[in-house]
């Protein structure tokens, strides 16, 4: 069947593929240096379980069918090149197996074609040709089998799908030859074009999973300011891993489907950010256009850094760190932070808090509360109050509630008082890395002066920064002998150790709104639910979008201080809350509390659900 030209053709296709892969390889290898270690185990587990892809059931199953439906027949065809003879029964079973796998692959590819076409009739660029080619390969394979069955009959059970095709096919050896040639040519075309279409995710995606980040999801990547990097001006300012992220993208759109900015009609689409980077990677070295020209500032400042895109990407792509790097360049490189956010950043510079109230008033909430101040005496818990806990009129009540809980549990605790500074989260998320470093270093210096075993924070943003980002600073001088806990984790410990008892019933139907920086960033979901379960009288429901798919309140990433155009994200969430019919929304974040309160207030409902911090609820129920 083979002609003398076939080896030549196969070699040519392989050469084109190798050359293409080398070009693509160079395009993402030109990024900045970054230390990464690979994870074979993780990659194998990922491929076998398809867990991350299966998060969306139908697409996941379709991918699973396609994956095994292509990979196993390929393996068998490869093995078949070595002449060996199988017993007829075994060969028949193998044929049946391959037949079914091929059919599964057809189902998978058809599903993807319909899904990609069905959205708005125009699939993302470059998706259609390889998909059609793959479908053609599968169909021509079965058609060839059908024709062959007409010429050389075989038992029906060994090739049921082929038999279906044979019913409509002629018994022509010439036609069979033609089909086989076309099948081969299509395969070679697919192989040759592999690096140039989205199918390169076969290699780039696998590599991306292999090199996936092992650190906490909530930690932003440090900026190499000492190397003169001020964020992402062009794609060359991104690291090779960030470029590999773009290379691996298949434009499936899961990031968009979960992005609160995109869903509320903002110009931002995480997919577009990644596709823009991918397009710019194709331009010759040294001539990269500015990223800022392709991704507008409106897009950049629309991001709430909620990490929904990161959590839902099946290939571990992180659009968020690119957005933050571009923000960093806007702020550090151009001094062009959004005008509305500048007073807040200036307040941080001058006074060390987001409200500009200054250190003088940082302990006003503790008046008459007998809150111990950290001194030379070692304590078990350092209660990190945070700017919201110290200054936000409503959240100060939560801080006082926390103090009541700690006192009731007879915990040895203290606060830093006036010396505490903002943790730096709003500055860092808005791209003001230099200011973040100043604040972080001052706080770390402070930690070194005292002795404590745990830091307990009320705000998930402070929690994330203290837990994940301070230890990752290049000149980290943290004492390192303490753990950072969110208030909910610590209160759960107190409940489980029976140091506090929840006695008084809080009669309400409640649901948990998962704060992004507690849930998606740090995986703290269960403590909130366990605490709510321990409060007598509280009947717990779940929102439709909850846990890993929880919807952002719209206040993170510095968005608390920025204007919002169009539909507000908190209004979207408030509508969901109103529809769910719960009487109480329990959250654990000052931003969520404010945003949801505002959102629900704006709906002008007859019976507005209450929004409360879980700590307040626990304090109410405290016996």
């Amino acid at each position: 069947m083979f002609t003398v030209f076939d080896p030549l053709l196969i070699t040519a296709a392989l050469l084109v593929m190798i050359a293409g892969t080398a070009v693509r390889w160079r395009s993402w290898q030109r990024g900045r240096k970054e230390e990464r270690s690979g994870d074979w185990k993780g990659l194998c587990g990922y491929l076998l379980s398809h867990r991350k892809i299966m998060r969306k059931d139908r697409s996941g199953i379709a991918h699973l069918l396609l994956f095994w439906g292509v990979l196993l027949p390929l393996a068998v065809i490869f093995l078949a090149q070595f002449s060996f003879v199988l017993p007829a029964k075994l060969a028949g079973a193998l044929s049946l197996f391959l037949n079914l796998l091929g059919a599964a692959a057809i189902v998978g590819i058809l599903f993807f074609l319909v899904r990609r076409m069905g959205k708005d009739g125009s699939p993302p660029e470059g998706v259609l040709p390889p998909a059609v080619l793959l479908l053609f390969i599968l169909l021509s394979g079965f058609e060839a089998q059908g024709v062959r069955l007409n010429i050389v009959p075989a038992p029906l059970w060994t090739a049921p799908v082929g038999a279906l095709f044979s019913a409509l096919s002629p018994a022509s050896p010439l036609f069979l030859q033609l089909l086989i040639r076309m099948h081969l040519l299509a395969v070679l075309l697919l192989v040759a074009t592999l690096p140039f279409t989205f199918l390169r995710h076969v290699t780039a995606g696998a590599l991306n999973v292999y090199y996936k980040s092992k650190g906490p999801r909530g930690a932003l990547r440090p900026l190499a300011m000492e190397e003169g990097c001020l964020g992402a001006k062009t794609v060359e300012d991104l690291s090779w891993k960030q470029l590999l992220d773009a290379e691996a993208c298949v434009s499936c759109g899961r990031c968009e489907e979960n992005c609160p900015a995109f869903l509320s009609g903002k110009p931002l689409s995480p997919r577009k950010v990644i596709r823009t980077i991918l397009n710019q990677m194709a331009t010759p070295r040294g001539s990269h256009p500015l990223l800022g020209e392709a991704v507008t500032t409106e897009e950049l400042w629309s991001c709430t850094t909620c990490m929904a895109c990161v959590a839902h990407c099946p290939l571990y792509i992180d659009p968020l760190d690119k957005v933050v790097d571009m923000r960093r360049y806007e702020v550090l490189g151009k001094g062009a932070a959004p005008v509305e956010a500048r007073p807040m950043l200036r307040n941080l510079e001058l006074f060390g808090d987001v409200n500009g109230k200054s250190a003088s008033h940082r302990t006003d909430w503790a008046l008459n509360q007998e809150v111990p101040l950290l001194s030379g005496q070692p304590v078990e818990v350092l209660l990190w109050v945070g700017c919201s806990g110290a200054f936000h009129p409503a959240y100060r009540e939560t801080t006082r509630a926390m103090v009541r809980i700690l006192k009731k549990g007879q915990v040895s605790f203290a606060i830093l008082g006036k010396e505490e500074k903002c943790c730096g989260d709003p500055a860092r998320r808005l791209g003001e890395e230099a200011l973040f470093l100043d604040l972080a270093r001052e706080n770390i210096r402070l930690f070194n002066r005292f002795s404590f075993k745990k830091i307990v924070t009320l705000c998930p943003h402070c929690f994330n920064v203290l837990k994940n980002e301070y230890p990752a600073l290049s000149d980290n001088l943290l004492p390192g002998n303490f753990e950072v806990l969110h208030a909910s984790q610590f209160v759960l410990e107190l409940i489980e150790q029976q140091k506090i008892t929840l006695k008084y019933p809080v009669r309400s139907t409640a649901a948990i709104h998962d704060p992004c920086y507690l849930g998606r960033a740090n995986g703290v979901y269960e403590p909130l639910r366990k605490i709510a379960g321990a409060v007598p009288g509280l009947v717990l429901h779940e929102f439709q979008r909850t846990g890993e798919s929880g919807f952002c309140c719209g206040g993170g990433g510095g968005r608390m201080w920025l204007h919002e155009s169009g539909t507000h994200i908190n209004t979207l969430r408030a509508k969901e809350i109103a529809q769910s019919g719960v009487g109480l929304v329990s959250t654990a974040c000052p931003y969520c509390l404010t945003m949801l309160e505002d959102g629900l207030g704006g709906l002008e409902l007859e019976k507005r659900p209450k929004v409360r911090d879980l700590i307040d609820i626990v304090a109410d129920s405290l016996g």
């Binding site: 490189g333 008084y504 809080v506």
Partner: protein
Amino acid sequence: MKIVVCVKQVCQVCGRSGLAPETRFLTPQDLVYRVNPYDEAAVSVAARIKGASDKTEVHLLTLGPLTAERELRRCAAMVEANDLFQIVSDADLDPRSKSDLLAQAIRNIGPDLVLCGKESIDTRHGQVGAFLAHSLGLPFVASIKELDISAEGKARVERSAGRGLREILESTLPAVFSVDMGAQALLLPSLEQKKRADRLVVRTLAFEEGAKPRTKRVGLHPPRPRPKKIAAPDSRLPAFERIAQLLSAGRVEKKGVVLNGTVESQVDGLLAFLKEHSLFNARNVPGGE
């Protein structure tokens, strides 16, 4: 075009901490050393003019010891200042003598435009700009919000004349304008600008003291502690102690407890309180124990 912006370093007092009445209720954390925000607004105006023409030079001029050098350099970064001048003087000066010293320095620089804040947040005299214009013999407009330089080399300034009136004035140059806050967006310098400003050498100037101060501060009374939401002072204490409590800005040691939480917990809390203070005896209540 050459612009001189006068920038004053001030100590912003953010509040009384109430820790120690003998230190007038202030602790170091209550003091923030910064550049007068009105002067920062003047720097923003200069930065906008500089942004419109490359040939503009901006020189910053400050008087007295460098108490807020970091903030001063931040101002230099905002406007990419060509020079940072410091007039060395430790004397306790009144606005008139300050402007005399500033005028001597400005004459040496020879600018086309002199900008300063309309007042400072520490002394709030608001006189330096006017005295400066007087000493230099230049036209003066106070509290400007906008400034444009026309092609003919004239300045058009906009100022708020109160009651919502916006006054537009035209002035010949050189001139002295004092700047009001509110019209300019805050400028955040880029890291590169900050680095350049950090490398700037502060050029010190020393002058013979000019006119002797003709006014002198003879007293300064700190404001009374502002009323705060506080629990009542403990009535068991003597009057002196109670007044001391009030003066320490509300840090009252009396343990007032506000009962919040569920109704049941509030009732239990009340009962516990009454029992603790022997105000309630269950045996006296019909149906009690």
